[in-house]
Symmetry: C2
Subunit: 158 residues, 2 copies
DNA sequence: GTTGATACAGAAGTAAATGCTGCATTTTAG
DNA sequence: CTAAAATGCAGCATTTACTTCTGTATCAAC
């Protein structure tokens, strides 16, 4: 009895609120109310409820990676030496503490982890790769440098 | 002369503002001013400047993928048949219109595109994969289903 | 030393957020 | 089918926040 999404039904207005806040998360409540054709009070009631029910996990600014000197991205496939079960935990604990690692996913099919890196340059990549291959249990890695970001949705994690 | 980050220097307060808004993008300006030890007016001046200079690209709500029935994620490597140059454009135009495709990156090394999918189920995956392999120029694909999200930073695109 | 530019705090007017009351529509029970 | 209860909404009043302006301090250039 810890999760399994409650039987909460989102009506059309709730969907519009989520959609609007996903695209424009810092508009005022009255502005949001106008866009969803509601007055201010029921609008904020719905937003509070969506937050409490977990549909909205938080709000954040979308920063420019290139402006902040993190214009290079790369994916690294990592295969672990699976002789001991502790290897996975050790790898995870280590990788979350590498700031350049923007994402880390455990995947099924061929290798074990897929990492997404945000970097300032290829020199930075070399340094980070050195740290990753030295992590305990890392058997081999394969890097794919991003040449062009074709599509990037925002708002939903995972 | 189209990009190459302007010689704008971010001081400590700017960094704190970006950091604060990245984690909590819907706090009021006075609350933000308190956290960065500034009064309201210079605080909003800085935020406006950071927006105009492109450091802040926007604001958005972080929605719960599992609550919205999109708890499954997968990566798909796509290799194209590179006989014609138009193939790349055709593929990109088509893939951005598939809503399940959350990200699409053109990569160097081994294959051509890496796609990140957000899905409701494995049935949905089957349907989307069918659409992708039928796109013009697609030679082969390889899918890696995400078993566990180990790390996910937010705020910075790419 | 003077000028100019930048960054800040404080105050005033405006706008928004919050909480309350009442009304309308829908649900549930009888 | 009717009556009671619940839900969802708009409107209003109070509190709070936002916005713009003005004045002052700091720093750099001349």
């Amino acid at each position: 009895m810890t999760q399994t999404d409650k039987p909460r039904t989102l009506d059309r207005i709730d969907r519009t609120i989520l959609d609007t806040l996903q695209k424009d998360g810092r508009i005022s409540n009255v502005e949001l109310a106008k866009r969803v054709n509601l007055s201010a009070s029921p609008c904020i009631d719905r937003v509070r409820k969506l937050e409490q029910d977990g549909f909205i996990e938080g709000y954040g600014a979308k920063l420019s990676a290139s402006k902040l000197g993190l214009g290079t991205a790369a994916f690294i496939q990592v295969t672990l030496d699976r002789t001991t079960g502790a290897v996975f935990d050790q790898f995870r604990d280590a990788v979350v503490n590498i700031p350049e690692v923007a994402e880390c996913h455990m995947v099924a099919g061929g290798f074990d982890y897929l990492l997404k890196l945000r970097l300032s340059s290829m020199e930075a990549y070399r340094a980070v790769l050195g740290r990753i291959v030295d992590l305990p249990g890392v058997l081999q890695t394969h890097t794919y440098v991003v040449i062009e970001k074709v599509k990037q949705d925002s708002g939903l994690p995972v």
